[in-house]
């Protein structure tokens, strides 16, 4: 099983020229806070408007201005969207990193660089395209902060020329970006055109990389996981959303704040059917969620690792007092403050066992923007049905980057409010808050405001009996905790089942979750092309549903692939299937970057070598 070279084989096109079409990556190196995001998104959008599958990943620093940022654009005719280890096209516009950036450029690649960069290494194995930035800038007449913005438009023009990006599509991209404010669009297009023209005249294209129109993105939307999650929550019926800003979760609540007024103002009264509260911290944010859940609201918050740590005490309360609530954790790299602008999957244990004493929480793992949208409904339904906090673990890569996707269908999953008794039902059947009438571990609850005098009870984090009365009796404690375990078992059947793709006579199995799916799918295709057959189970939730066992039983080796150091999901799988523990092989790695297919292939190959 050989690993393919990172650079796709160049083909020879009709004109007899060696060419690589729609299958390469671009990396744009700039400093943040200069507006380069606008330029990068314009390139991304223009390519996708040309019908070509494309994906953008922003590798940005944890500050506001002036530190290195890399924007990776993967153009892939086959629709692969995972990160690639190398980019063939480098736009070296950041003097602080240019030397290293150029060193990292693979042989055969091209480097578009501002010609005032000093001390660049000599490389004869790549094509160098210098851009006389200062002169071109002078031509624009830009002053002050415009200099930065126009700098970025200049590389757009040059890239467009060199890669054959359609100027019309660039115009369209900017038009979308600037929300039809034509003046802005025109000003920027002017610079782009100027640079384009300059490049046309002055740069001789001598490399194989270019794009060519396809028809693969028609009708697709471009959206981040956080926007999708925010929209999903709105269509899932969120009524109370509380939060405290933290990267990379902030844009999820931003999306909610943006869309709510347009989607959820009551038409009759013109009033809000929702409340969004910026809390003073995460302790307050989760406290509000549980308070709101208690009175019946579909309540949520969004945060990241440090916020989860701070919420631990409240999550334990939510688990034990059986309060619904949804917590989106857009994972970044921990422990501690860690790398706030890098991606990972390190909060699996923190979420699943969040709380002291014996707690186990329901956790969902969306793997793409579709699932982010979908789980907006699913998470609330589970939280209300199971009367417990539900985590949704996304990550920075999925959450903050833009993904091409089919538009979202209207949710099929109905809004389910769980076992809530009305006053009439209390009158009819009586009410014992924690009685396990249905044998599924889930009691019936009443909401404050219920007029029946027997509906009132006291919610608490202290020991209680079936009737919700304070109790220190051993039997009450035991029964209650056993019922909570039963409830978790009920959850196994309710949570979304894993997505399975099995190949007959597969050499081994792979289990993973979340956004690593893109790298895994690509790696599987490439392995298959080399004759290695694999089966893939993508977990969508904890607790594990029972089909996980069946899957593992089928394979001698099941690789558990995840973006963390300790193999956290691997641990959980082992403890739930001790008899199969030795089949489960951990493939865990965390360096802050999204997983690549190449890394995964290499690692699987090594491990398979060891196993052989």
């Amino acid at each position: 099983m050989a690993i393919r070279s990172a650079i796709p084989d160049a083909a020879v096109d009709d004109s007899g020229q060696r060419s690589v079409i729609n299958d390469f990556s671009i990396v744009v190196a700039t400093a943040n806070g200069t507006g380069s995001q606008t330029s990068n998104l314009a390139i991304l959008r223009a390519i996708y408007k040309m019908g070509i599958p494309v994906n953008g990943k922003n590798i940005f620093p944890s500050n506001i201005q002036g530190l290195p940022t890399w924007y990776h654009i993967r153009v892939s005719k086959d629709g692969y969207v995972a990160r690639r280890e190398n980019s063939e096209v480098l736009v070296a516009f950041n003097s602080d990193t240019a030397v290293q950036d150029l060193q990292d450029l693979p042989s055969g690649g091209i480097c578009i660089y501002r010609d005032d960069l000093k001390g660049l290494p000599e490389r004869t194995d790549v094509t160098m395209y210098p851009v006389p930035l200062v002169r071109l800038l002078r031509q624009t007449g830009a002053k002050g902060s415009f200099r930065d913005r126009y700098t970025n438009m200049i590389y757009v023009g040059v890239v467009a020329r060199l890669l054959d990006i359609d100027l019309e599509k660039l115009d369209l991209a900017l038009d979308i970006h600037f929300k039809r404010r034509r003046k802005l669009v025109d000003m920027n297009m002017e610079v782009i055109r100027m640079a384009y023209d300059w490049a046309m005249e002055n740069l001789e294209k001598s490399d194989p990389y270019r794009v060519a129109p396809m028809n693969e993105t028609e009708g697709q939307i471009l959206i981040t996981g956080n926007e999708a999650g925010g929209l999903g929550s709105i269509f899932g019926g969120v009524t109370v959303c509380t939060w405290y800003p933290i990267t990379p979760s902030t844009s999820l609540v931003d999306a909610i704040n943006e869309y709510l007024p347009q989607l959820r103002i009551d038409e009759e009264t013109g009033k809000a059917t929702y409340a969004v509260v910026q809390a003073e911290d995460e302790l307050a944010a989760i406290g509000m969620v549980l308070g709101a859940g208690w009175v019946g609201a579909r309540a949520m918050t969004a945060t990241s690792g440090p916020g989860i740590s701070l919420m631990t005490e409240f999550i334990g309360l939510g688990y034990f007092a059986e309060l619904p609530g949804v917590v989106w954790d857009i994972q970044r790299v921990g422990p501690s403050t860690g790398l706030p602008t890098r991606t990972g999957q390190g909060d699996v244990l923190a979420a699943y066992f969040c709380g002291h004493g014996d707690t186990k929480n329901v956790v969902l793992f969306p793997g793409d923007v579709h699932e982010c949208f979908k789980f907006g409904t699913t998470s609330f339904n589970l939280a209300e049905h199971l009367q417990t906090p539900v985590f949704v673990l996304s990550d920075l890569d999925l959450g903050m980057n833009n993904w091409l996707s089919e538009p979202f269908d209207y949710p099929e999953e109905p809004i389910i409010r769980g076992k809530v008794l009305t006053a009439e039902e209390v009158a009819e059947k009586g009410f014992k808050r924690f009685a396990d009438i249905d044998g599924d571990g889930i009691g019936y609850r009443t909401l404050p405001g219920n007029e029946h005098p027997l509906s009132a009870y006291f919610t608490r984090g202290t020991g209680h009996n079936e009737a919700a009365v304070y109790s220190e009796r051993s039997e009450d404690w035991l029964e209650n905790m056993e019922r909570l375990n039963r409830k978790l078992d009920t959850a196994r059947d309710l949570v979304p089942a894993p997505v399975v793709d099995e190949q007959e006579d597969a050499d081994f199995g792979i289990i993973a979750f979340g956004s690593t799916k893109f790298a895994i799918e690509e790696a599987r295709d490439r392995l298959a092309a080399e004759g290695v057959k694999t089966s893939f189970m993508r977990l969508l939730a904890l607790p594990l549903s029972n089909d996980v066992r069946e899957f593992v039983e089928k394979y001698d080796r099941v690789y558990v692939v995840e973006l963390n150091r300790d193999g956290q999901m691997h641990m959980i799988l082992q403890t739930e299937m001790p008899d199969l523990a030795t089949r489960l092989v951990s493939v865990a790695h965390l360096d802050g970057m999204p997983m690549t297919a190449a890394w995964l292939m290499r690692t699987l190959q090594e491990k398979e070598g060891e196993a052989a």
């Binding site: 109370v240 809390a279 969620v289 308070g291 538009p407 009132a456 202290t462 009365v469």
Partner: protein, 344 residues
């Protein structure tokens, strides 16, 4: 037994209907008196229990919601975190009237941040601090409201200055700030009634002696001290909006009337000549002065109803959010398609 007709209120309920489980606090604990006054007030005002919620943190004080208004949903939250839970509950259902009960440790120590921020937000919440200057439930450590220089058998000498929760509330933007004494049943009642009519967060800082750990007369939070030293700023009475107001012995300049949002009135018969509870600076001043002189002033210390309750500020629909029908909380397919259209 002879069956004496029991007094009933406007709803035809007896006072016993407002009881809950028997207290498990110490005999004589100030917190129990406050619970009794809550029961009295609810009975007298004819409150419908299901229209209320009661919340608390952790501590002896925070247990007390289990001992009043058994017909009201209650939430015993985490130590210091009642304010956030109350905020969430009142966002989820802003029709509910909320009573939050906390302790001086619960609000002044671990809960300081949430205390300040709930005051800023101004939800419709009667926030009662049952203030005994000590951690009752953990057996006698100093809380942040204990006086500097106080000595306790268990905890030794307190060398830190006290936090004055009334001052804290005013500084944080609270518009109804009162101090009282659990031994002064009438005042507690009238303040409670007024607070329940207030359309925002109302702080009642009630000195409520801990008979087990902090009831020596040398403590400003003790019964003996309170009984001897309480200085009422005014004699307060609350007149619900429906009542005919009848003021006997009206003497000009001795009475201040405060009109509330819902039409009720607070009548203050001045005891301290020029105290004006609607003057923010004056209120801070008076508190500061009292702190320096270790004076135990009680009454309505500050009143302002210029701020709107948060649910209004947020332009929330009249019905409780928590129980809106599914049609109101899931937008239509057309709307989704529109959104998708814009993302293409």
């Amino acid at each position: 037994m002879t069956s004496r007709r029991q007094r009933t209120n406007s709803l035809g309920l007896t006072k016993a209907d407002y009881n809950a489980r028997p207290t498990t606090l110490c005999q004589g604990c100030g917190h129990n008196s406050i619970s009794s006054q809550i029961i009295n007030v609810a009975f007298e005002l004819g409150i419908e229990q299901h229209k209320m919620i009661k919340l608390s943190g952790i501590g002896c004080s925070s247990k007390s919601p289990a001992y009043f208004l058994g017909g009201t949903h209650g939430f015993n939250a985490l130590h210091g975190r009642m304010p956030s839970v109350a905020t969430g509950a009142l966002m989820g259902n802003h029709q509910l009237q909320a009573i939050g009960v906390s302790g001086d440790g619960d609000s002044g120590s671990i809960g300081m941040g949430q205390f300040k921020h709930v005051m800023r937000r101004n939800l419709r919440l009667v926030y009662i601090v049952e203030n005994n200057g000590v951690y009752g439930l953990t057996k006698g450590q100093f809380s942040a409201t204990a006086d500097m220089g106080q000595f306790l058998k268990y905890a030794g000498l307190n060398e830190l200055p006290p936090i004055d929760l009334c001052m804290e509330a005013i500084v944080a933007g609270c518009g109804f700030v009162a101090r009282s004494f659990s031994g002064d049943a009438k005042q507690v009642r009238e303040l409670l009634k007024a607070a329940l009519s207030y359309e925002g967060t109302a702080l009642l800082d009630i000195i409520s002696p801990c008979v087990t750990f902090n009831n020596d007369e040398s403590s400003t939070k003790s019964y003996p001290y309170g009984r001897l030293h309480e200085v009422q700023l005014h004699d307060i009475s609350f007149v619900p909006k429906l009542d005919e107001i009848e003021i006997d012995d009206y003497q000009p300049g001795t009475m201040k009337e405060v009109e509330m949002h819902d039409g009720s009135q607070i009548l203050l018969r001045k005891l301290e000549e020029d105290y004006d509870p609607t003057d923010r600076m004056g209120a801070l001043h008076r508190l500061q002065w009292a702190q320096e002189k270790q004076e135990f002033i009680t009454g309505l210390i500050y009143y302002d109803n210029s701020r709107q309750a948060l649910s209004k500020v947020m332009n929330m629909i009249d019905e409780p959010l928590g129980t809106l029908p599914n049609e109101k909380i899931r937008p239509s397919k057309e709307k989704l398609d529109q959104v998708m259209e814009n993302l293409i």
